[in-house]
């Protein structure tokens, strides 16, 4: 494994992308690995397209260079494609399959592309993993755990420089105790979803 790991987290404002990046960063500190996280705040959070990056190991920059991400996890399919420039053939792209239609489609006359074509294009440029994170989150007890499902999926694709237990424990440390069970289900659900592909 190289001494640098770069993870890109994308999605739609309100999906908990920043929280997921923060938890991933904390887990990396807990694993005693150097980490640098970049987030978006402010205007971009009002339902816009969101990107965060987490870099681990021997890194100085919180931002990722094109074609150098080890994994991209996205809570929405077209947002995975929007940031595909960070991917190379070896990059693992994990995305939720459920589209969130931007308002520019309804009122701006823009078009939401055919999902199969989106997946085809991602797959032609990287290694694609599709999961129904929304359903897993719902089954776990709360749709807001979709970001935790994504972290579970990330833990299952073998890119993190530490054991998935550390990530799991960090999640539990960062959610209210009464929601521990729900988050556990969501995290495990994410892992299982990748394993069953």
């Amino acid at each position: 494994m190289s001494s640098k790991t770069s993870i890109v987290l994308t999605g739609v404002g309100g999906h908990g992308v920043i929280t997921a990046a923060n938890i991933l960063g904390k887990a990396t500190v807990n694993a005693d690995v150097n980490v640098y996280v970049s987030e978006v705040h402010g205007m971009a959070q009002r339902g816009g397209s969101v990107i965060c990056t987490v870099r681990m190991g021997d890194v100085s920059s919180p931002l990722v260079a094109s074609g150098t991400a080890d994994a991209i996890i996205s809570t929405e399919p077209i947002e995975a494609l929007r940031y595909i420039r960070y991917a190379s053939k070896n990059t693992k792209v994990i995305t939720d399959v459920n589209p969130v239609i931007p308002f520019t489609v309804a009122v701006g006359g823009e078009e939401y592309p055919n999902l199969e074509e989106v997946f085809k294009e991602i797959n032609s440029r990287a290694k694609l993993y599709k999961i129904d994170a929304l359903k897993i989150a719902e089954d776990s007890g709360a749709i807001i755990t979709k970001n935790i499902v994504m972290l579970g999926a990330l833990a299952a694709v073998d890119v993190l420089p530490f054991k998935s237990d550390i990530l799991f424990e960090t999640i539990l440390d960062n959610v209210p105790t009464k929601y521990g069970k729900i988050n556990e289900k969501a995290f495990k659900g994410g892992i299982d979803a990748i394993k069953s592909i």
């Binding site: 739609v12 404002g13 990046a21 923060n22 960063g25 904390k26 990396t28 500190v29 150097n34 980490v35 640098y36 996280v37 970049s38 987030e39 978006v40 705040h41 402010g42 205007m43 971009a44 959070q45 009002r46 339902g47 816009g48 397209s49 890194v59 100085s60 920059s61 919180p62 931002l63 990722v64 260079a65 094109s66 074609g67 150098t68 077209i78 947002e79 494609l81 929007r82 595909i84 420039r85 190379s88 969130v100 239609i101 931007p102 308002f103 520019t104 489609v105 309804a106 009122v107 701006g108 823009e110 078009e111 939401y112 592309p113 074509e117 989106v118 294009e121 440029r125 749709i143």
Partner: protein
């Protein structure tokens, strides 16, 4: 709470902004003030959260913190604390320093007593701003010592040690950050928290009253202070040479977040270089820079935005009669626009140094993706106000707007933003448009903006009898920057009860004769209020009051109340398109064959759309 962890030498993950707050606590901060603004807000929010947390535990915070009415007042409050011998901190976004600059420029003449750090958070690329001005020029302009951190760890150390520099120089100092530092999270090594000083004492001195004679006496002192500051800069641990590889005649000068990209790029390009990492960028350590100029054949300057370092290096090289070749913006290798990133820096360095760039050019995706810009939240009360205005305003009406969530009303279908300069500009430009045109004018500002700088132009409108309608969108919070309190809320930044000031009462005191107070969730009533305001000859103010839906729903969740969702009866819906095409709540979407639906995941349950549907097709969904 991590940020006030008492265990020294522990390493925790902190946001750059939180790291600054932590650094101030390790220096025994006494008084912190701020006006919120992205990307600076979390510095202030961290103080506020700590104060509330301690209060809950029954402990008294060691510092005083306030969200001030605007940046100028924030700076004045903190400066007075410093004059009383206390350690003070003020934070704001870059354009905030424009507001505070009147105080700032003369404050530097007077100098300070207790250490005072002024944080300017710049926003290259305008992620959340109306311009990308480079505030390093404020340091040159006013003669302020300046620090620029590279990482959250360094930001914390600069905040901690900055107070000592400030006290040694008897001058406030600037801590200049950019978005990628403010909103980057990194591992931060903690030191002990320090006790604050408690109450200070103001010592009178004629030199604190800046009459012309005093100003003339202070100006040479200011220049002398900068000479002493240069000595500190020469010895500062924040200015250092980072040598990569073998000794080299290539020098790279950089500061702030650019250093991060430079370091990785030099490693990736496998070149040998001496990187001069500047953490104290005003005044520059001229001896240290001179040494680099002498030792190098070429020097590359990597800095975002303006050629601040580049021009100074050129001047130094000229004075030294050096023939060193300086690369940067003037040679066309680097841009004065936007943010840098690893791609940009690696590419430019590879071209200058004539080595192969290992980063492959990104290939664009072939499918056209719809854009996803930020938008007013589903259920945002501003949408209802805008919808009501559009029902009664003539077609040619001009809508000057202001800084806040409501700027997002610019997007279709509302298109309710025509002119914007800065905080408070809605009402000032409304007055000017009334002078210059015969068009109707309805301007918009938020409640926090009203208090910040919206009141003087209203008085101007009254005094000159301008025929304008000025709207205050009163949602009881500073929503865009993260829901901070302001003078219109009944609590303050420390979580203490505070005197709540009503917009309509202030406006009445300003002499406005026609005031409408309306609740936008009554769309018909709000439209009528605007109609009356438009018919009034002279300045009218409409206060459109309803809490930000995010705050309201947060309160509901806390109280265990359910948040309703709404649904469309497909039998009744005639697909008239009003809800999407005119109202534009983002929770609406088209299904198959043009059917219209509400996305339950997105609906915030405001119920406003029930009133706008002419066919009564929208209603609250039964259970959930």
């Amino acid at each position: 709470m991590d940020i006030i962890d008492e265990k020294p030498e522990k390493t925790i993950l902190l946001l750059g902004n939180e790291a600054i707050t932590r650094g101030a606590l390790e220096a025994g901060i006494d008084v912190a003030t701020a006006y919120p603004g992205t990307p600076s807000s979390e510095i202030a929010d961290a103080f506020s959260a700590i104060a509330k947390y301690l209060k809950k535990k029954g402990e008294k915070p060691s510092f005083y913190f306030e969200y001030s009415i605007n940046e100028k007042v924030a700076l004045e409050v903190a400066a007075a604390a410093s004059f009383s011998g206390l350690r003070a901190l003020t934070c704001m976004k870059h354009v905030g320093l424009n507001v505070a600059s009147d105080a700032f420029m003369t404050y530097l003449y007077v100098g300070c007593r207790g250490g005072h750090i002024i944080i300017t958070a710049d926003d290259p690329y305008c992620h959340s701003s109306q311009n990308e001005q480079d505030n390093r020029y404020f340091a040159l302009f006013g003669s302020a010592p300046m620090l620029e951190p590279t990482t959250p760890q360094e930001a914390k150390e600069m905040a901690r040690l900055g107070f000592e520099i400030s006290e040694e120089l008897h001058s406030p100092i600037l801590l200049r950050t950019t978005t990628r530092l403010n909103h980057a999270r990194g591992a931060v090594n903690l030191k002990k928290l320090k006790k604050s000083r408690g109450k200070g004492h103001f010592e009178k001195s004629p030199m604190l009253v800046t009459t012309p004679a005093v100003a003339r006496a202070r100006h040479p002192e200011l220049l002398k202070m900068m000479e002493r500051a240069e000595k500190i800069s020469e010895k500062s641990p924040f200015n250092e040479i980072v040598a990569i590889g073998k000794t080299s005649k290539i020098g790279i000068v950089t500061s702030g977040v650019s250093f991060n990209y430079v370091k990785e790029a030099v490693e990736d390009l496998r070149v040998d270089a001496k990187i001069l990492k500047l953490g104290m960028t005003n005044p520059l350590p001229r001896k240290m820079c001179g040494k680099l100029i002498k030792a190098c054949e070429q020097i590359i300057i990597v800095e975002e935005l303006e050629p601040f370092l580049e021009n100074q290096f050129k001047a130094m090289a000229y004075d030294m009669e050096s023939s060193v070749k300086i690369f940067g913006k003037s040679t066309g290798h680097f841009s004065r626009l936007y943010e840098y990133n690893p791609d940009i820096v690696t590419d430019a360095l590879s071209k200058i140094l004539k080595v192969k760039n290992p980063i492959s050019k990104p290939i664009d995706y072939k499918i056209k993706l719809p854009s996803r810009p930020p938008t007013l939240c589903p259920g945002c009360p501003h949408r209802a106000t805008y919808f009501a205005v559009k029902k009664v305003a003539p077609k040619e009406t001009i809508y000057p707007t202001d800084i806040g969530c409501y700027t997002l009303g610019k997007a279709p279908p509302l298109e309710m933003a025509d002119l914007l300069l800065c905080m408070g500009s809605n009402a000032g430009t409304a007055c000017g448009l009334a002078v210059s045109t015969d068009q109707k004018i309805i301007s918009f500002m938020g409640d926090s903006t009203f208090f910040h700088s919206g009141i003087p132009p209203i008085i101007d409108a009254v005094h000159h009898k301008r025929d304008v309608v000025i709207t205050v969108l009163d949602n009881r919070t500073t929503a865009m920057t993260g829901h901070q309190p302001h003078p219109g809320t009944d609590f303050d930044g420390m979580g203490n009860p505070a005197k709540k000031i009503l917009v309509e009462e202030v406006v009445k005191g300003c002499g406005v004769e026609h005031i409408e107070v309306t609740n936008p969730s009554d769309i018909k009533g709000t439209a009528e209020a605007f109609k009356r305001a438009l018919d009034f000859k002279g300045p009218a103010v409409v206060v459109s009051k309803a809490p930000c839906i995010l705050l309201e729903n947060r309160a509901k969740r806390k109280a265990g109340k359910k948040i309703p969702t709404y649904t469309i009866d497909q039998e009744k819906c005639k697909q008239c398109n009003i809800c999407i095409g005119k109202f534009g709540c983002p929770a609406f979407y088209y299904g198959e064959n043009g059917t219209v639906h509400i996305d339950e995941q997105q609906c915030n349950g405001c119920g406003d759309c029930v009133q706008i549907c002419p066919f009564d097709a929208i209603s609250e969904k039964e259970e959930k």
